[in-house]
Amino acid sequence: MTTTITPPAHQQIEPRPAAPAGTASYLRQIRTLARRNFTHIKRQPEMLSDVTIQPIMFVLLFAFVFGGSIQTGSPAGYREWLLPGIMAQTMAFASFVVALGLNNDLQKGIIDRFRSLPMSRSSVLVARSVSSLAHSSIGVAVMAVTGLIVGWRIRNGFGNAILAFALLLLFGFAMIWVGILVGSVMRSVEAVNGVMFSTMFPITFLANTFAPTQNMPLVLRKIAEWNPISSLVQSLRDLWGNDGPIPTTASWPLQHSILVSIAWSLLLAAIFAPLAIRAYTKRTTD
């Protein structure tokens, strides 16, 4: 047996074209991946039910079934008062969509396939966030139309109204990281469902979403008023003019709801983004 020395193999194998690097190709990856997520919605329109049928059902249920017995002190009436609450709840569920989509891709080996390609590691998560924000925006639009039909109005001018929508999207952005964390940690879509339902429902209900906090027992009232959802909902009501003056007994976050809502969203993102990225990295590198 003779041993010969050959040059390194890559000199003889046809060199591969280098993938175009830089921002342009990064944006293209995100566009391609986001388009894939939208195609999923097109193929399974029921994926949109969380931002269409479900919130509309909540509006009808609360506005017409419970609404009569809930005293809000809002001059505009309960239906108008309710709508910002439902919008915030819809945004909180943005995390749900992200978690389900990501978990499904991890389970089915799609993420492995992406990882075997010469593409940016982060584009998968960024594209998830982009499509999730688009998904939630559809929900906000549907809610706005439903609201206008049942009597919700924007009363404090265009600028304030836009600021309110921006606050909603900022909160949605923070919730995406929660979704990435849950989607990366859980081992099945069923587990994601279980965790999200059992946490998101109490969190969105233990707030000023559907009923004022004044009549809650003291401990619950404190918790509800410090809930990030409550400051978001309060700022929406203030900016759209859907509520009367805040009772002086309300906690500090409700008195300064806009700033607190921004702070909460940034804080949630600052806490959950590193946790989410760590969980995702751990899940995808054995």
Binding site: T4, I13, R16, K108, L117
Partner: protein, 331 residues
Amino acid sequence: MFSVTRSNTPLAIEAIDLVKRFGEFTAVDHVSFDVPQGTVLGMLGPNGAGKTTTVRMMTTLSEPTSGTARVAGFDVRQQPDAVRRSMGLTGQAASVDELLTGRQNLRLIGELYGLPTKQVRTLGNELLERFSLFEAGDKVVRDYSGGMRRRLDLAVSLIAAPPVLFLDEPTTGLDPRSRTELWDVLRGLVREGTTLLLTTQYLEEADQLADNIVVIDHGKVIAEGTALQLKDRSGKASLVVTVSDGAQLAEAERILREIVPDVHVNSAARQLTAATTGLSDMTTAAGRFERAGLELDDIGLKRPSLDDVFLSLTGHRAEDATPADSEEMSV
């Protein structure tokens, strides 16, 4: 850096002392092998032997605990992106997007590779045609059969025409016809110069496709060589004689015992089986039978199958999961 090989064929894949540990459990234990360009390596082993983990390390999906691998000359640890540009991977589960059409799947991966849109479209159509999926190209994948999904999975892996292709149990779960079809496709790729590494638990598959076989058990390479070499290693062939007339079986047995003492008689099949060392025993036996006037239906050497080889190497059959694995995996 120079690669030392036994010939001048450049190496498309080199596994260099790969080790992967998950906590206490060693899934891959110092695995090394070479795959010359344009050849097929079959990685053979039971479930849980460490095949998939080895492939995951070689395709940059999993970081080796120690050791490394080179794909198309690029180091998986130092140049993962160059490795990804040089190889395609078809995983164990057909990892295609069920909610997209076949064509959209090809487009998705082609664009993520960074190929120009126009080229993706042309290549996509070519691949659909080649894998007999052209008609189904605009159907949503969840309506595909298992065989169609595997073909699409393979087509997707080929969208960037990679010189090296990794296939992790490409035919597991396929019916025999789809399996044979896929084998034909793979042979076609090899003719065009693609280097393949395929893992399989099917000995027949390795025998059919692979130029070289690496047998893996408990994360270790326990044998390596061509199918023929492995068969030779596992011991003796047998001489099988079938007499035409059952009444002459005893006479035939007597003659055969003069040449090889260890003869097994199967009266119902009028068949004698004798452990032998080679061809000379067969020619001697044939001559004596002729002189004795015995009529034979058949006389021949039977080589051990790869199944026999695996059994003799590991003490268990390839299709059985290694018994200890389930316990070890759950640690």
